[in-house]
């Protein structure tokens, strides 16, 4: 080859390739740095997710069990009279039976009696009262019952209160720890699954507080949200995608929907407060108003998902139906909508999952009230799952920290389940054309 032999003398081929090789090394190192930075960024994001979930699990798992103590209660006829049941001294009966298990403790001294009573949850006397009211023949009998202990002892049993900390800094004093240990030695202390977390409504006492009210409230709100946003969203999407003439008006509607999807959620709360509550006179704190507000926020999501699903149906289906003489609405409702349905449902479920986690608008319409019973309908005052989390996170009692984490785990569980259903629907039913 001529150009090889004609190379000017003195310029060895090695020198150029050495230069290139050296710079190439530098350039590749630069690329590797970029790559490592990217992997580091992802690593940080994953680490954050891990810390987030890890901290919730590590504080929350304890709330799924609750320390109970098993007592032999002698329902003393002197204290509890059949004629005047609701005013019976159930508390004293419980304290007496508890004191009988602690050999060195007498209940004559009021202060001692009070601190012995402090072992049991405030709800224990009501459990006993309910038992006796339901069956008055128990008076004079000895019954065995298992009742929750109060929050400090629950924390003690779970190891959340360090026994090594000086007594003055501890919520449980040394002699009280000794009582509790005596009870534990007698095998009276147990730690079963905390069903109260799901069967009780909110309470001021952590050991009695549960999520039932919040779950029921969230259910009603989501039901209302679904019933409103699903038909409205699908109707709007079908019209805009299939029928709307391309003019200024439909452009305007489209811009509106896109902007609505990006409006901060707290503004929807302001809208609900001014229009639904102040103007329409609907009551505060009810799931119906919450559902209405969430529906307005969910609608853009459903519209966008429905339009994407409709677009994915190939035109050949439309053309075939048209060719056989179907009207435009027959084409859409009988031939385009059915294959688009899995996509629409997926979008709807994802929208509802977002609505389930939404908090700010519900705060503004008062769904953060302290309500100790579950709602019986959409017009009953209630909290929702995220607002309950907010309430508990604000509570000063130590026991609510782990309950807040537990409530968050329940919420995340619902979200994961809903998203799993959405993914399943997409994988299973969506057709590839």
């Amino acid at each position: 080859m001529t150009d090889v032999t004609n190379r000017p003398p003195g310029r060895t081929p090695n020198r150029a390739s050495e230069l290139v090789a050296a710079s190439l090394k530098r350039r590749h190192a630069k690329q590797a740095r970029l790559k490592w930075l990217g992997m580091g960024a992802i690593g940080i994001a994953f680490l954050m997710l891990f810390i987030l979930v890890g901290s919730l699990v590590s504080t929350g798992w304890q709330a799924f069990t609750q320390t109970h103590v098993t007592l032999d209660v002698y329902v003393d006829p002197d204290e509890i009279e059949a004629e005047d049941l609701p005013r019976g001294d159930f508390d004293d009966v419980l304290v007496d039976s508890l004191a009988s298990m602690l050999p060195e403790v007498g209940t004559e001294d009021r202060a001692t009696a009070r601190s012995v009573a402090g072992i049991l949850s405030n709800g224990a006397q009501f459990m006993l009262r309910d038992l006796v009211v339901a069956n008055p023949s128990l008076i004079g009998e000895t019954i065995t019952m298992t009742v929750p202990v109060s929050d400090p002892y629950d924390q003690l049993n779970k190891g959340l209160i360090e026994r090594a900390t000086p007594e003055a800094l501890r919520r449980v004093k040394d002699n009280e720890i000794a009582w509790f240990d005596t009870l534990a030695e007698q095998g009276a202390v147990s730690k079963p699954f905390n069903w109260a977390l799901f069967t009780n409504a909110d309470s001021r006492f952590p050991e009695l507080a549960g999520l039932k009210g919040a779950l029921v409230g969230s259910f009603w709100a989501l039901l209302v949200c679904f019933l409103i946003s699903f038909p409205l969203g699908i109707g709007a999407a079908i019209y805009l995608e299939e029928f709307a003439p391309k003019n200024k008006l439909s452009d305007f509607i489209e811009v509106n929907i896109n902007n609505l999807a990006a409006v901060p959620s707290v503004v929807f709360g302001l809208l609900a407060l001014a229009v639904f509550i102040n103007w329409f006179g609907l009551p505060r704190s009810v799931p119906f108003v919450g559902g209405l507000t969430l529906a307005l926020m969910t609608m853009p999501t459903i519209i966008i998902a429905t339009r994407a699903a409709l677009k994915a149906v190939p035109p050949s289906i439309r053309e075939a139906a048209m060719g056989l003489g179907a009207s435009r609405q027959q084409v859409v409702f009988q031939h385009v909508l059915p294959p688009a349905m899995p996509g629409i449902l997926t979008g709807t479920i994802i929208g509802l999952a977002q609505a389930l986690g939404e908090t700010a608008p519900l705060l503004l319409i008062g769904m953060n009230a302290f309500i100790t019973s579950a709602a019986s309908g959409p017009f009953d005052s209630a909290t929702a799952l995220p607002t309950q989390i907010f309430i508990w996170a604000d509570s000063p009692e130590r026991g609510f920290v782990s309950r807040t984490s537990a409530a968050i785990l329940v919420l995340l569980g619902f979200l994961v389940a809903m998203n799993a259903v959405a993914i399943f629907l997409r994988q299973k039913f969506q057709r590839k054309w």
């Binding site: 509607i253 902007n259 609505l260 707290v266 001014a274 986690g357």
Partner: protein
């Protein structure tokens, strides 16, 4: 009673459907040549019943409450409401309602008991009236629809007109929502500016939203200058972006260019999880883990950190925004035409050089659009800051200090307060108006950048 009305409506619709369909079938059996399928005759009747009667029921439900309240209050004996302001009247009404609901506290006056009886009676009457209206209207519409059944009647066109009207209504709901937001915010903001001058709100540097409880109270004049509040919002937003932009962009670059397909298909959904976590969870995370960690770190290097420092709220918000920025940047990078990639690789660039010198600059407009959307998200984000940021408004840009934000103030001003006639409540709407405007402008701007850029390469 309402449930009964709905049931009645449902039955009327089914009845109309069956009647018309049966009639059409018998006409066709008699040899008539039909324009529409028999099912359309049925649907025509059902829709004709459903749409107007459902509208009436819903309107009735919305209007009956306020109307009955007004009738009850109007029927009170002379002088019972003398000297009461709006709040006092509402208290009386609430008491009457709770008596009507069977919850009697203490011994209310006789006129309150009478009013409660009247309230119950009115509700009962209204319920019955509704049922009667539904029944009469439903039956007459069924009769009308039945009379239209004939071989030549274009039932399908009728049905399609109604359905298309319904769909148009559905698509205008979004517009009505926007209009509702704008109107309600404007109206309440206007009332706020009657109490507080606009200039004080826009340029005041003091935000102390108290109102005097008694007229003679000293030192309780509220101050409504929003500058410290928006300054605090900006501090937290900047902290969030400092966390989110580098992490989001770098991970997008890695995912877009360097990650093997399998890594990408795992990492992307996991990052999306961060976007799907409810914000109340992030708020709790901030107060449970992040704020104490920052504080104890500050203590080890002898820096005093406020308990609800802007760093905690902003940092956690940044974590929330990572997937937002990374997916926007990923989309923008993917939208750069293949020819540009091939061209730069063909000229001998490494993949890293292609990314930094060709792809990234080309995708920059789209990335900026995504970041702007993230900014509007951060400004409007509520729960994280409500839980983790402070309540006191300060003119400071020190992220170690405790600052407050627009959304925090909106929520704290409105929680537990129902009356709409004091500047404290109305101030929340004024802040909401500013929030809406700021995020709207940013959103429109960002969406325009994103769209324009996309068109440039399409």
């Amino acid at each position: 009673m309402t449930g009964f009305a709905f049931l009645l409506l449902l039955m009327a619709a089914i009845l109309g459907y069956m009647l018309n369909r049966y009639a059409a079938q018998s006409v066709r059996a008699g040899g008539g040549r039909f324009h529409s399928l028999t099912g359309y005759h049925g649907m025509f009747s059902a829709l004709l019943v459903l749409v107007p009667v459902l509208t009436i029921i819903l309107a009735w439900l919305v209007l009956q409450g306020p109307l009955i309240d007004r009738m009850v209050m109007g029927g009170l004996p002379q002088g019972a409401l003398q000297g009461l302001d709006t709040g006092g009247r509402q208290l009386v009404l609430a008491e009457i309602k709770s008596i009507a609901g069977g919850r009697v506290f203490g011994t209310p006056e006789d006129w309150k008991l009478a009013a409660a009886d009247r309230l119950v009676a009115l509700r009962e009457t209204s319920g019955w009236l509704l049922v009667v209206v539904v029944a009469v209207l439903g039956l007459s519409i069924i009769a009308f629809a039945r009379s239209r059944v004939s071989a030549g009647f274009r039932a399908r066109q009728g049905v399609e007109r109604i359905v298309s009207g319904l769909m148009i209504f559905c698509s205008t709901v979004a517009v009505f929502t926007t209009v509702g937001i704008i109107l309600s915010l404007t109206f309440e903001t206007y009332r706020f500016f009657q109490a507080v001058p606009v200039s004080e709100f826009l340029f005041g540097t003091n935000w102390e939203p108290q109102i005097p409880i008694r007229a003679d109270q000293i030192a309780a004049e509220g101050a409504f200058g929003w500058l410290p509040v928006i300054l605090g919002t900006m501090v937290i937003t900047v902290v969030a972006l400092v966390v989110a932009i580098p992490i989001g962009l770098l991970s997008a670059i890695y995912l877009n260019e360097f990650a093997p397909g399998r890594v990408r298909s795992v990492v992307k959904p996991v990052l999306e999880i961060l976007a799907g976590v409810p914000t109340v969870v992030y708020g709790f995370f901030a107060i449970l883990v992040v704020a104490p960690a920052i504080r104890s770190f500050g203590a080890t290097i002898d820096i005093d950190v406020a308990p609800n420092t802007a760093l905690a709220a902003g940092g956690v918000m940044g974590i929330m925004l990572i997937p937002f920025i990374s997916s926007f940047a990923d989309d923008a990078l993917s939208a750069v035409p293949q020819a540009m990639r091939d061209g730069s690789l063909g000229l001998g660039a490494t993949r890293g050089e292609m990314m930094t010198t060709v792809l990234f600059p080309a995708a920059l407009p789209g990335i900026v659009g995504g970041i702007l959307l993230a900014v509007s998200r951060a400004i409007g984000e509520t729960m994280i800051v409500v839980m983790a940021a402070g309540l006191m408004a300060r003119m400071t840009i020190n992220p170690l200090d405790s600052v407050t934000t627009v959304t925090v103030q909106i929520v704290t001003l409105l929680i537990g307060d129902t009356s709409f006639d004091n500047p404290k409540t109305l101030a929340a709407f004024a802040l909401g108006m500013m929030l809406f405007l700021v995020t709207l402008v940013i959103n429109i701007f960002a969406l325009r950048i994103v769209r324009k850029y996309r068109e440039a390469y399409d």
